[in-house]
């Protein structure tokens, strides 16, 4: 094929054979199962070893979307997923850009600030969750103690569903803001300094320089961040698990999939594994990701063509 340099005949097979292990595991562990989710969504798979698997057509979808109280709960989870994703994306995107602009200045100590804002990323959901569970401990925890003199009392994560979700949104942004910021910083550093020089000579104000130099030239980072944030937040649910647990009125779709597929634990009782049903919920989530991700991707590409030519 392409000018392959390392011999012919049997030697030509070397790259294929050596590529095989990595590709095999990718198909076995990720790609295959991911696609097979669609197949399982039409079965009554339970997840119990050796149990019979029956083809039940669209039954899971019917139950998920059109069956009484359960489907009303599902629509609730779907709505919460969208709300969660909307707030996380918009706030994380704007704050990330704002912080990137701040720490990209020539100031003493900006590197320390970068490190601080990025730190939670490597701690992972368990530690992030435990740190904030402590901080938000309602019975005399740090924040409760600080707010008490102002007469503010809140259950925080254990309170009203809307309050609890707002805190998960907050922690989610706190945890991942560093990634968004770093991607913006990488973009900012590709903008040549001469452009700012000439903008300044032309008498552009700080805002004008941002509007006409920084913002258009930042387009690749803007696209990456928006897409990563949207898809990431639609699929995110680990912080719900660590911060709240499975509680009615707070779950998002990702958590619902896990809980249905592997048993929702309330107290010491674990419900049945309903993996076919969970698979159908995965497919619903997949379509939501596509329905939002693809138009956004298309719009961003069109914009990039317009702005960067």
């Amino acid at each position: 094929m392409h000018n392959y340099h390392f011999g012919r005949g049997r030697a030509r097979w070397a790259p294929y054979l050596l590529l095989l292990p990595g590709f095999f595991f990718y198909v076995l562990i990720m790609l295959g199962p991911s696609l097979a989710t669609a197949v399982y969504s039409f079965t009554d798979a339970s997840g119990i070893q050796g149990s019979q698997l029956n083809w039940i057509g669209f039954e899971n979808y019917r139950e998920f979307l059109f069956m009484g109280q359960a489907s009303i709960d599902n629509y609730g989870a779907l709505w919460r997923t969208l709300v969660f994703s909307f707030f996380v994306t918009t706030i994380q995107f704007s704050l990330g850009l704002f912080l990137a602009l701040l720490v990209n200045q020539r100031l003493i100590g900006v590197n320390i600030f970068r490190t601080i804002f990025f730190m939670p990323v490597i701690l992972g959901a368990v530690i992030q969750g435990l740190i904030w569970s402590l901080f938000l401990y309602p019975l005399g925890g740090p924040l409760a103690t600080m707010l008490a003199p102002f007469g503010i009392r809140s259950e925080f994560l254990g309170g009203q569903p809307s309050v609890a979700i707002a805190w998960v949104i907050f922690v989610q942004i706190w945890a991942n803001l560093g990634v968004t910021m770093m991607i913006f910083i990488a973009g900012l550093q590709t903008i040549p300094n001469d452009l700012y020089e000439s903008a300044r000579i032309d008498g552009a104000s700080g805002w004008q320089a941002f509007r006409h130099v920084t913002w258009p030239l930042l387009t690749p980072s803007v696209n990456t961040n928006l897409l990563l944030n949207i898809i990431g937040s639609l699929q995110a649910w680990q912080l719900f698990l660590v911060l709240i647990g499975y509680r009615n009125g707070t779950q998002v779709l990702g958590y619902l999939i896990f809980a249905q597929g592997f048993g929702q634990t309330s107290g010491s009782v674990t419900s049945a594994f309903r993996q076919g049903y969970a698979a159908s919920a995965s497919i619903v989530l997949f379509f939501i990701v596509l329905a939002i991700g693809l138009p956004v991707q298309y719009f961003l590409q069109q914009r990039e063509k317009r702005v960067l030519g």
């Binding site: 590529l19 990720m30 910083i185 300044r200």
Partner: protein
């Protein structure tokens, strides 16, 4: 001068030498804002440290007050009660073995794709890129592991981490920066494919390898969902799972729990400070390339 401009402006040093300097409001406000954000980031962590040094009665009396003394007993309690040594060892074994195996396989996948040495290279790359959009693989993956008899099996657990599509994309992009003449010259000297990749490509792409290795290792270290699904035997628990169980048992004993969280956090924080460069470059690698 405008504060939006890039750091490399030459005007700044001259300005500094003026004897009377105008008070720089933008700089002042920047520091104030950055300071406030830093407080939101470090505050909860400081609280964790303070809590871990308190006795339980002290914590009950006031959660925010400073501890009366350095009460290190919490750390000893946490370490003994939580079976941390076991969990840490497990996590370390999982992380190291899966990362090493993954990185070696990933280079052999990325190199021929990047060079076009296999048919349909760009098609293969697309297969890795779309992974971001695909449905969650959890359910069929579980069925597969059950039927392979790898449920509740440490080897099966490690196998789940032999895959990471983003790493492949990062490697492919990085290998493109190596000149193709390298391959030609080596082949001319009679170097075989395997030896070329292992003894010439590997050393040359070390920065990218460090990046994907660190990213992958962090992912495994912090993984919570997969051990919850696949490992039921306590002896196989990684630290994350152990931590959640510990929280379940000692959930209201915040001083001990805080000490446990710190024990789990410290290795990661240290690793992060040492390897920060690679982590950041890995996460931002996709941004510039688009």
């Amino acid at each position: 001068m405008s504060t939006i401009t890039n750091p490399e402006t030459k005007a700044l040093p001259e300005q500094r030498s003026f004897p009377v300097k105008r008070f720089n409001w933008i700089r002042f406000v920047s520091y104030v804002i950055l300071g406030l954000f830093a407080l939101v980031y470090l505050g909860p962590l400081m609280m964790l440290v303070i809590t871990s040094l308190k006795t339980m009665p002290e914590f009950m009396k006031s959660a925010t007050a400073l501890p009366s003394g350095l009460h290190f007993q919490n750390f000893i309690d946490a370490w003994q009660r939580a079976n941390f040594l076991r969990y840490m060892t497990n996590t370390l074994l999982y992380t190291v073995s899966a990362t090493v195996a993954y990185v070696v396989m990933a280079v052999f996948v990325a190199f021929p794709i990047s060079r076009g040495y296999v048919k349909g290279a760009s098609w293969l790359l697309t297969l890795y890129v779309i992974a971001l959009f695909l449905p969650v693989a959890l359910i069929p993956q579980f069925q597969l592991m059950l039927s392979l008899g790898l449920y509740n099996n440490p080897f099966g657990y490690v196998m789940l981490f032999l895959v990471n599509p983003i790493g492949i994309v990062i490697l492919v992009n990085y290998i493109k920066t190596l000149p193709i003449e390298l391959d030609e010259a080596a082949a001319m000297d009679g170097c075989g494919y395997f030896r070329f990749v292992t003894s010439i490509v590997f050393p040359l792409i070390q920065p990218a390898i460090a990046t994907i290795a660190v990213l992958h290792a962090i992912g495994i270290w912090n993984e919570l969902i997969l051990p919850t699904i696949y490992l039921t035997n306590k002896d196989y628990y990684p630290i994350t799972r152990g931590m959640i169980v510990f929280q379940g048992v000692y959930g209201s004993d915040w001083p001990t729990l805080a000490a446990a969280v710190l024990i789990m956090t410290l290795p990661m924080l240290l690793l992060f400070l040492v390897l920060q460069r690679y982590i950041v470059s890995g996460l931002t690698a996709g941004a510039v390339k688009g």
